[in-house]
Structures are given as C-alpha cells and as structure tokens.
C-alpha cells in the first residue's frame, strides 16, 4: 500500500494531523487577523459573557478571549519550534558524535546526558530567572536545554544500530571516513525516529511553556500566552469560572494533536514496530 493510503486509514494520525493543522492555521491567521486586538484593554466591558461582538466574552481587563486565544497560538508554536530546534541541533550532533567515535567520547556524552536529565526545564528556568529575570527567552532556553539529552540518547541508540550494519562495514571497507558514513548512511536511516521524537518533544515544550508562563517565568505581558491566560483566569475563578476553560482546552488540544500525530508517524514510518503492538 502507498504511504498516503496507509496514512489516511490511520485514525490517530488523521485526527492528530487535523488538530495540528488547526493549530498552524490559527497561528497563521493571527498574523493577519483577529476579531479584536488581543492587547486592547477596555476595562468598562470587562468580564462580559459570550456575545456577537465577543464570542467567548472578555477577560478582567476587557480583552477579547477569542483574539487572545488565536494570538496565543503564535507563542506556543514559536517556543515549541525554538526549543525543539535547540534540543535537536545539539542533541543529534552529540548523539552522532558519540556513536561515530565511541570510547571515552561516547562515555562523556552519555554522562552529560544523564546529568542534564537532573535539570528539568522548570529547574533551569528557576535558576535563569533568578539571575536574568523572567522572560520568553529564559523559558525557551530552559526547555531547549532539557531537550538536548533526550535527542542525544535517542540519536546514539539508533545510530549505534546503523553502525553495526553490513552496508556501513562495506562503506568503511571502501575507505570512507566516519564523517561521510554519518552523513550518507546514519543520518538518513535514523531520521524517521527523530521526526517522531520531535513531534512529541514539541508537545512537551508547549506544556512546559504553558506551565512556565502560568508561574510567571515565561512569556511576559502584553504578549498573549495560554499559560498566562490561565493564571489570570484563576484569580477570577469566583467571578468568571469559564475563563479558565478555554486556554486550557487550547493547550490540551494542541498537545493531543501533536502526540497523536507522533504516534501515527511512528506506526507509519516503522511498520515493524506497529505490528508488534
């Protein structure tokens, strides 16, 4: 069966892709249009219920909820892209290096990975915030750092498998160097696994950014962010309980979409694994 045919039959891949597509479309839309300005403060019309003008009502400063949600998607995607980029860039390079050099280099890289695992994004963010103050950059860097060992480990494990294959042996017999083999054989063969991991880490990054922004360590006002919307909504919990529902739903659906797409991709790209499950 062709890849696209199989993809269409894979229900979690289809649902996941639709949700991710919706997220990307929303973010794209936010650049050109939102119903109202997400940063316009209009205190007289604060905490309104849903109406024709404000579909989901307004928050405690009279900002339009729909506009804030749409604009907030930009933030989540940007953080996800950069954090996964940092993690992949350094992590894959380290993993490939460990696998190509083996010996003490591999040992060192793996010790480093173990060690970095002891610093979850929140912990790094706390340290960085204590020095440089809270902000989007602080949170992105903290999340990105935690992604490095994740990618380093996966890359090394997968690359070691490729290095023991016959075609690599043949390539070495032809006098090709480690660099050539890594680029020509190892990387293409482990790419699908990395793509799957990237979607899952993207989801984790969105969750982490939301948590950091909720705590006030991430995105700062007036930049709209789902995590901070939840923080503001919580202080209005008694007056306007529904405010707390929408941003959380936006986070959960984005994460769900990415996870489903990742699971689907894993099944589609690696049929051997799929049959085992």
């Amino acid at each position: 069966m062709r890849f696209s045919d199989r993809a269409w039959r894979h229900s979690s891949f289809v649902i996941g892709s639709l949700l991710v597509g919706l997220l990307l479309a929303t973010a794209a839309l936010s650049f050109v249009w939102t119903p109202h300005s997400p940063t316009d403060i209009d205190v007289p019309s604060k905490l309104q219920g849903p109406s024709a003008a404000h579909w989901l009502g307004t928050d405690s400063l009279g900002r339009d909820i729909v506009s804030l949600l749409i604009a907030g998607s930009q933030n989540s995607i940007a953080v996800g892209l950069i954090a996964v980029g940092i993690g992949m860039g350094f992590g894959v390079a380290l993993g490939l290096l460990a696998s190509a050099r083996r010996g003490w280099v591999e040992e060192l890289v793996m010790r480093f990975a173990d060690f970095t695992f002891a610093f979850p994004a929140l912990l790094s963010a706390i340290m960085l915030t204590a020095i440089y103050g809270p902000g989007l950059v602080t949170s992105v860097v903290a999340i990105g750092i935690f992604n490095i060992p994740v990618f380093a480990r996966i890359t090394r494990a997968a690359a070691n498998g490729v290095w023991s294959r016959d075609y690599v042996l043949a390539s070495r017999a032809c006098g090709k160097g480690a660099w050539h083999i890594t680029v020509a054989h190892v990387l293409p063969n482990i790419a699908s696994g990395l793509i799957v991991q990237a979607t899952i880490q993207f989801a984790t990054a969105i969750l982490a950014e939301a948590a950091l922004s909720y705590l006030g360590l991430g995105t700062q006002p007036p930049q709209p962010s789902w995590g901070r919307m939840l923080n503001e909504a919580q202080s209005m919990m008694f007056q306007a309980p529904t405010l707390a529902i929408w941003p959380g739903l936006a986070i959960a659906l984005s994460v769900l979409g990415l996870n489903l797409m990742g699971d689907g991709l894993r099944d589609l790209l690696d049929p051997k694994l799929a049959r085992q499950r």
């Binding site: 695992f117 002891a118 912990l123 340290m127 204590a130 020095i131 919990m237 529902i245 986070i251 769900l256």
Partner: protein
C-alpha cells in the same frame, strides 16, 4: 556521586559566578558602591569562587545551608518547614499514580483489543495532553468553588489535625497523579502485554494455573522493570509538577519558597532548593538502577 558533584558545580557556577555578582542581583540597580561592598563582605563574596564553593559544600555536608537574607533565618530550617508540605504531596501523588496506573494498565492488558482496553488507551491519550495545572484549576472549580467539598487553596498545617492537612492535599495530589498515571498506565499495559507473550507464561498456564494466578504470580513481577524505569524518569516531572501545583492551590511548599526567594533576590535560598531538587532526581535515578537488580535477578549477571 560524581553526578551530584557536577550538578552542584553547575548550580554554583550559574547562580554565583556567571552573572558576576550575587550582591548586585540582590541589591538591584540602585545600589551604591558602599552598600554593595558591605553586602559582599557580609556574604563572603570578596573571597575567591573556589573557596566559596568549598564552604557551601562543607556546610551542605553538615546540613548547614547558610542563612537566608530575606527571611533572616537558616535556610535549612526554611527548607525543613516547607518540605512538610511538598514531600507528603509528592508521596501521595506517587502512590495515587502507581495505584491508578497499575490497575488500569493490567486491566487494559488483560482485556487486550476489547472495549475496556480501548477506553483506557483513549483516556490515557487524553490524560497525557492535559496540563496538570489546568486540571488543578478545573478540580478546584468543581470541588472547591461549586461543591465546596474541599478548600480551593491554602494549607492548615499538620499541628491542629493531620486529617485537615491530608484533605488540603487531596485535590493537588489528584491533579498531579492523573497526568502521570495516564503515561504510566500505557507503559504498564505494553509491559504486561510483552510478558504475556513469553514462553514461561504459556508453561504456567499449561501446568494448570488460572489466568489470574499467572497474572499476579508471574507476569507482574516481570513487567515491573520497564514500569519502574518510567517511574524513575517521572520523578523529575513529579517534582516540577509539585512546584506548579503548589502555586495552583497556594500551598506553602518548597516551590513557593523558591518563587518568594526569586522575588526577594534571595539567591542563597534559590541555590540550595535547586540543589535539593536536582540532587533528589539524581538519587532517585540511582535507587531505581539498584532496584532493577533486586526485582529482576537475571540482571545481576550484567551488572
């Protein structure tokens, strides 16, 4: 051990050496040169970094974490007081996680490809996607604001009645556990399924044991190694989760302590609490490595 030392060096470097000066961060931008020099002398910052690091380590070894300048009391006392909230919360959450995950995971595996299995899988996929702090807010909306079964936040302390203390931690623990259990249930399910395919399971069934006997006697113990691995990895999530959840339910735990310390520019507190968090993640992962061998004697040969 080596990892612990490395972690302490990094924490020290980031919080103490890198930015140039703790005293500058503490006093803010309006500090005068004299007050800066005075504070530096008071904190011992005029000494070289290596010496300061050594004295921090010496103190830690004796349970002395230095003195917090914003609370004006020993950091170790602050930490002990706050840990009385954070540790019970983490333990409750971990216990709930394990209970829910094992029950659902084993149930799903023994009903493989039937309705119950599907329901658990769909439920866990949804659970994984939930931000735990959102779940916390929703729980307090329903059970505290609407139904008024629990208080929406705050902590009464353990002195008056332990029961009130536990009650204040129930919603936070559920919020933490639900998301973790969703992940762990999937791992349990696939681990149990893997073991169910083994030859010794068929042998056990063939010698006349019932499905239930085989499941509890043979399968669970063998499936526990991958489950334990993930539990170890989840510990870091649990810890950062408590920091977030403490904020949701305004509990006076270690997480709150760190945020107050950041707001007060109290870097000595930040440094010690961060070290405590990183250290416990490292220690727990070490314990998990040791436990493998206890649970699965087959691994002894490789160790």
């Amino acid at each position: 051990m080596l990892t612990l030392v490395a972690a302490s060096v990094v924490i020290f470097a980031v919080l103490d050496v890198l930015p140039g000066n703790v005293a500058e961060v503490m006093l803010g931008e309006s500090a005068t040169a004299e007050s800066l020099a005075a504070l530096q002398a008071k904190l011992g910052l005029d000494r070289p970094p290596a010496e300061r690091y050594a004295s921090w380590m010496r103190g830690l070894a004796h349970g002395d974490m230095g003195t917090s300048h914003s609370y004006d009391s020993p950091v170790a006392d602050l930490v002990k007081e706050r840990a009385l909230v954070t540790v019970p919360l983490a333990v409750m959450a971990m216990a709930l996680t394990t209970l829910i995950a094992l029950v659902l995971g084993v149930y799903a595996a023994s009903h493989h490809n039937r309705g119950g299995d599907l329901a658990v899988m769909v439920g866990s996929q949804l659970g994984i996607a939930l931000p735990n702090f959102w779940l916390g807010i929703l729980l307090s909306l329903v059970f505290a604001v609407q139904l008024r079964w629990f208080s929406a936040g705050g902590f009464p302390g353990w002195e008056d009645s332990p029961w009130d203390g536990v009650r204040a931690l129930v919603l936070p623990a559920v919020a933490l556990a639900a998301v973790q259990a969703a992940i762990l249930a999937r791992i349990t399910r696939s681990a149990v399924l893997d073991v169910l395919r083994e030859d010794f399971v068929r042998t056990a069934r063939a010698k006349g044991l019932t499905r239930r006997q085989v499941l509890w006697g043979h399968v669970l113990r063998n499936a526990f190694v991958p489950v334990l691995t993930v539990m170890g990895l989840q510990f870091a999530n649990l810890l950062t989760g408590t920091v977030v959840i403490e904020r949701v339910f305004s509990l006076p735990g270690l997480g709150r302590l760190v945020f107050e310390a950041i707001a007060n520019r109290d870097l000595i507190v930040v440094r010690n609490v961060v070290m405590l968090f990183a250290g416990s993640v490292i220690v727990i992962n070490f314990v998990v490595d040791v436990l493998y061998v206890v649970i699965d004697p087959r691994l002894r040969r490789h160790a």
